[in-house]
């Protein structure tokens, strides 16, 4: 059902936790839906220097979070907002059709966090 890449990221997820001194964070999903994804980042000079996640969800949700954080570390905020869920899926070697929404959740969490950062910076 899952690719080796998904299982690898589920078994050994990267960047789990909460970034200290985060200046970008966002949570998407709800316990009722069975998925909650929380992203926190430290952004310096528009570059993501640290990024972590915590996820309540299925193996695909955890793997998507792990993969997305790996793809974004060291990237600029402009690059981050352009990250598409399909790129996360490709990096995972594919997701089952009923699990596509897990990658969408990752995309939304990242967008939300970046927005939080941009709004915070303006204030």
């Amino acid at each position: 059902m899952y690719t080796d890449k998904v299982m690898e990221n589920f078994r050994n997820p990267q960047n789990v936790g909460v970034v200290e001194n985060a200046n970008a964070k966002y949570t998407v999903g709800s316990p009722e839906c069975g998925d909650i994804m929380e992203m926190s980042m430290r952004i310096e000079e528009d570059v993501i220097v640290d990024i972590k996640f915590r996820t309540f969800g299925c193996a695909a949700a955890i793997a998507s979070s792990s993969m997305a954080t790996q793809m974004l570390k060291g990237k600029t905020v402009d690059e981050a907002v352009k990250l598409k869920n399909t790129e996360v899926i490709d990096a995972l070697g594919g997701l089952p059709p009923q699990k596509i929404h897990c990658s969408v959740l990752a995309e939304e969490a990242i967008r939300g966090a970046i927005e939080y950062y941009k709004n915070g910076r303006q204030e």
Binding site: F10, V16, E32, I36, F56, A61, I62
Partner: protein
């Protein structure tokens, strides 16, 4: 910890007993005749089928001609419900079932709703046992059929079938009572004289028999329409060449299950109870779903708070342990179990529920290994869960 392979999904299916396989084996190759053929090859096969029918009838306390072989539990459920509905729709178009039935019953009822039937889904209590008061209130003048499972497939709760039958027959003798006995057969005494049901579905692969075979008990005198049209098999009620080896295997498996029921149940229940006790005492925020007492001996259904069930299931799988989230038939879906929601369990807890079902080959080592793995996995997944951290009083052990 040395890795093991542990099967704790006996409620989904069991392995075929070697003794059963041995009994079946000649009927694939040597005694291969069509049981409906008149010649000697056919007669040999027919004799085996007749013997199997007698064996099964003896176990459930029925007459042999009240046993109708089917392709399994789902067909038997479909036949009982659709067959009665079609035969008696002139008398009424109301059916009563429960909110926690297997999809084989629920989806059949939904299909009938589309054809103009009205279905009442009687609730269960928070213990997962049929609410008899609500059940009694659901009976109407135009009710023609009741279908209540003998024991639930997800949480293992045993329903008060005898009481429910008594309520129905006291009120209205014209209402037929069907029970989906798929989970209970093999584990419980399902004598139809004791329960008083009119129709009963059974599947062989839940009691170490082959897959793809089951039967519907139809009490003599109950008339229902056919589900499968065809030849003259099964007293002209169910077309299709009889699956002789599987029928022989089902009878043998049922005989063994019945013969060793007490011994098997004692073994299974003691392991299951030890498992539940260890989990509840060694892992925080875990809940047993469904009544602990009115429960099949091999079932444990637990909610692990702050964790989503599929990730728990996959983590167990990586350790070589097979359990189930919801029922195997619905585990591809993202919706939480209709059974757990019917118990009034919070939806996020329903998402974090797993069924562990024990069988006659389960060992103490299997149980201990599973609990040890679960403790690590639960800690690991909770450490990842934003729900767990949100509560200031909860500290992870990792």
């Amino acid at each position: 910890m040395e890795k093991r392979r542990v099967y704790l999904d006996y409620a989904a299916t069991t392995y075929l007993d070697k003794e059963v396989l041995k009994e079946m084996s000649p009927y694939f190759t040597d005694v291969f005749g069509n049981a409906n053929s008149q010649h000697l090859f056919g007669r040999d096969a027919a004799k085996a089928v007749a013997e199997a029918r007698v064996k099964i009838a003896e176990i459930i306390g029925s007459k042999p001609n009240e046993i109708y072989f089917t392709s399994g539990g789902t067909e038997a459920d479909n036949w009982a419900i659709k067959g009665i509905a079609a035969a008696y729709e002139g008398l009424g178009k109301h059916i009563i079932t429960s909110a926690v039935e297997h999809h084989a019953v629920l989806e059949t009822c939904k299909a009938l709703e589309k054809k103009g039937f009205e279905v009442t889904y009687v609730p269960v209590g928070s213990d997962g046992v049929l609410d008899l008061k609500a059940f009694e209130n659901a009976i109407r003048d135009d009710t023609i059929l009741v279908s209540i499972m003998y024991a639930n497939n997800e949480i293992g709760t045993v329903m008060p079938i005898q009481e429910a039958v008594a309520i129905v027959k006291k009120q209205n003798h014209r209402i037929y009572f069907h029970t989906d006995c798929v989970q209970a057969a093999g584990a419980l005494d399902i004598d139809v004289n004791k329960s008083g049901v009119d129709l009963m579905s059974v599947s062989a692969h839940k009691f170490y028999g082959p897959k793809g075979i089951g039967f519907l008990y139809i009490k003599n005198g109950v008339k229902l329409d056919k589900l499968i049209s065809g030849g003259n098999q099964e007293r002209k009620m169910r077309g299709g060449t009889l699956n002789v080896p599987h029928i022989v295997g089902m009878a043998k498996a049922f005989e063994l299950a019945s013969l060793h029921r007490e011994k098997n149940n004692a073994h299974i229940q003691s392991l299951r109870d030890g498992f539940i006790d260890r989990i509840l005492s060694e892992i925080d925020n875990v809940y047993l779903n469904g009544s602990r007492e009115k429960r099949l001996p091999g079932n444990a259904n637990l909610s692990f708070e702050y964790i989503e069930g599929e990730s728990l299931l996959m983590s167990l799988d990586l350790e070589g342990i097979a359990a189930s989230s919801g029922s195997a038939c619905s585990s591809g879906s993202l919706d939480p179990s209709h059974v757990l929601l019917a118990l009034g369990i919070k939806i996020e807890l329903a998402h974090g529920s797993l069924r562990f079902s024990f069988g006659k080959s389960t060992t103490r080592k299997d149980v201990d290994y599973t609990v040890d793995c679960l403790k690590d996995i639960v800690n690991r997944l909770r450490a990842m869960s934003p729900l767990f951290y949100q509560l200031p009083s909860k500290k992870t052990n990792v």
